[in-house]
């Protein structure tokens, strides 16, 4: 049995934070393996760029490494990490770099209307291997990605936290320091916006 793995799975959050605050490198490794996937998904959802999201999350862990002694456990570690990740994404320095790229993304006319209504897609037959359906799924996925890219940042962040983390409105509100009602309306606007982009 791998000893590190066992310890990694057993250590609880409070213990982990204490070890992190003592600067134990071992604890940081656990932190990284425990949270990287979740944070990377959030970062990817917001930046929609693989390379950028990896760099953002790398920076997040460096910030945590520097600031862990300021962490007072009144919020959970996960909330704190999510908060830093969202902020890092929004402040991402490469934004200015992206301004120089010409955007050729355009939504095709048949973007998603029929796809989203197709009962075969993402319905009962999630694991469909019919090439036609797989192709349609891919197309819907691509169009949705473009639509998410067009969402205003505030709406996108809420949509990402809801879709990937399955957080309650309360938890999203705590992460973003906004009211629960604001979460509800932003989510609704995000969905409405996405459907419009997809031509529905």
């Amino acid at each position: 049995m791998d000893k590190t793995r066992t310890a990694e799975n057993n250590i609880n959050e409070q213990d982990l934070v204490e070890r992190l605050q003592k600067g134990q490198q071992w604890a940081f490794n656990i932190l990284v393996s425990r949270y990287q996937d979740r944070l990377l998904r959030i970062a990817y959802g917001i930046t929609l760029d693989q390379e950028d999201s990896i760099e953002v999350v790398q920076d997040v862990f460096v910030i945590v490494f520097k600031k862990i002694h300021t962490f007072r456990q009144d919020a959970s570690l996960a909330t704190w990490l999510r908060k830093i990740t969202v902020n890092q994404c929004l402040n991402w320095k490469r934004k200015w770099k992206r301004r120089f790229k010409w955007s050729h993304d355009s939504l095709e006319s048949n973007s998603g209307k029929n796809l989203l209504n197709d009962k075969n897609l993402y319905g009962a037959n999630m694991k469909n291997h019919d090439p036609e359906i797989l192709y349609q799924e891919k197309q819907l996925e691509n169009n949705l990605k473009k639509a998410v890219k067009k969402l205003p940042e505030k709406l996108r962040v809420v949509f990402v936290l809801n879709s990937f983390e399955g957080l309650s409105y309360e938890q999203i509100a705590a992460t973003l320091d906004i009211k629960k009602g604001t979460v509800s309306s932003r989510l609704y606007w995000a969905r409405k916006n996405l459907m419009e982009s997809l031509g529905i």
Binding site: Q25, V32, L116, G123
Partner: protein, 157 residues
């Protein structure tokens, strides 16, 4: 769906999908959805948006941190901790900020002047000649297509 439902708003359906209604409201709406094709379709579409986006991200297999690189960064932070006095780690000295602001202002002014022309011409910016990225700043050298101006873009991190 063209015909709107008069009983529930789309935001209510959105909250229903997220299980963010009070229990009795949730139950009533759940019953309504079985009868109302509009609300039923809308709630399915909302769910599908999240499912598809979620699937898209889960398919990203290369979404992984480079642990060796991260450890290098940790080491660098540790070294800096030893060099810099504690009071200075999370705040910058006033003098440093002043220098920083002045340099940003100067460079923004010059670049704005040049960029205004470069960005709004139909050809737009072209090649990024060189890009340097450090812990403290990023510098990008660009050459515009038509007039072949060299632009130095400076960014404090």
């Amino acid at each position: 769906m063209k015909t709107k439902c008069s009983k529930y708003t789309s935001e209510e359906i959105s909250r229903f999908v997220d299980n963010e209604l009070f229990e009795d409201q949730y139950k009533t709406l759940a019953q309504h959805i079985e009868q109302c094709p509009h609300c039923s379709e809308l709630s399915n579409q909302y769910k599908t948006l999240s499912t598809v986006f979620n699937n898209h991200v889960h398919e990203k297999e290369n979404l992984k941190i480079d642990k060796a690189l991260l450890e290098q960064k940790f080491d660098r932070v540790m070294q800096n901790h030893e060099k810099i006095p504690w009071g200075n780690i999370f705040g910058f000295s006033k003098k440093y900020i002043l220098v920083k602001l002045t340099s940003i202002a100067m460079i923004s002014l010059i670049s704005l002047f040049i960029l205004q022309k470069a960005l709004f011409t139909p050809t737009g910016p072209s090649a990024i000649v060189k890009y340097v990225d450090t812990d403290y700043s990023s510098v990008m050298i660009i050459e515009t297509q038509k007039e072949q101006h060299t632009i130095i873009w400076f960014n404090e991190t």
